[in-house]
């Protein structure tokens, strides 16, 4: 399940958190959102899940 959290504080700052998506798909999933909010130059932190490889398509080998 893909989940995006948008947190808007009282100073006008917006934080976007993504879960359930790994790798570069994660960045592309929120690109439009970040651009429409005008926060494309905001601070970005990549979480550990970003560096995980997608497991879909990996076959068991004997």
């Amino acid at each position: 399940m893909k989940e995006i959290k948008v947190i808007i504080d009282q100073s006008g700052k917006v934080k976007v958190e993504v879960s359930g998506i790994s790798g570069k798909d994660c960045l592309s999933e929120t690109k439009e959102l970040e651009e429409s909010l005008g926060i494309k130059n905001g601070e970005r932190k990549l979480k550990p899940e970003y560096h995980c490889l997608p497991v879909k398509g990996i076959r068991n080998a004997r």
Partner: protein, 145 residues
């Protein structure tokens, strides 16, 4: 979780700003070229959020759109700053503006960001739920299978 980004928003979507205004009971004066304020810059406010830091005082009172709170004389202007970005500007002398919309008119800023984020996320097929935390932060939780 895989990534997190934060930053101050920029006003880009005028339709969403109008919808945000209407949700708060404000009047959006689309295309208005002036907004109500004291009328003369007297250089008496030097806070971090003082408008002259971002907007040329010679242009105070001019705008691309204006926002009116019912029964409040002074208005909020959508003003192009020195960098070409649209910003909200208003005369703090009229305390009624922040009494209605909070310091920095944050209620309007939050409502605008909500509208913009909801539209973007729905276009991608997300279902959205909204909560307001005890500290005033608005949280949109978007889920897609």
């Amino acid at each position: 979780m895989s990534h997190m980004v934060s930053g101050e928003i920029e006003i880009k979507d005028i339709d969403s700003m109008q919808e945000a205004c209407e949700s708060l009971g404000l009047i959006f004066r689309r295309g208005a070229t002036t907004f109500e304020w004291f009328g003369i810059w007297v250089n008496d406010y030097h806070g971090k959020d003082a408008a002259y830091r971002k907007i040329d005082p010679k242009t105070f009172g001019k705008c691309e759109h204006a926002i009116k709170i019912p029964d409040v004389l002074y208005e909020i202007g959508l003003v192009r700053d020195k960098e070409g970005k649209l910003r909200l500007a208003y005369d703090k002398y009229d305390e009624q503006i922040e009494n209605n919309l909070g310091v920095g008119v944050y209620k309007l800023v939050q409502a605008y960001a909500e509208k913009v984020a909801e539209k973007s996320l729905r276009r991608k097929g997300y279902s959205i739920t909204k909560t307001v935390q005890s500290d005033g932060k608005v949280v949109l939780r978007a889920i897609r299978q």
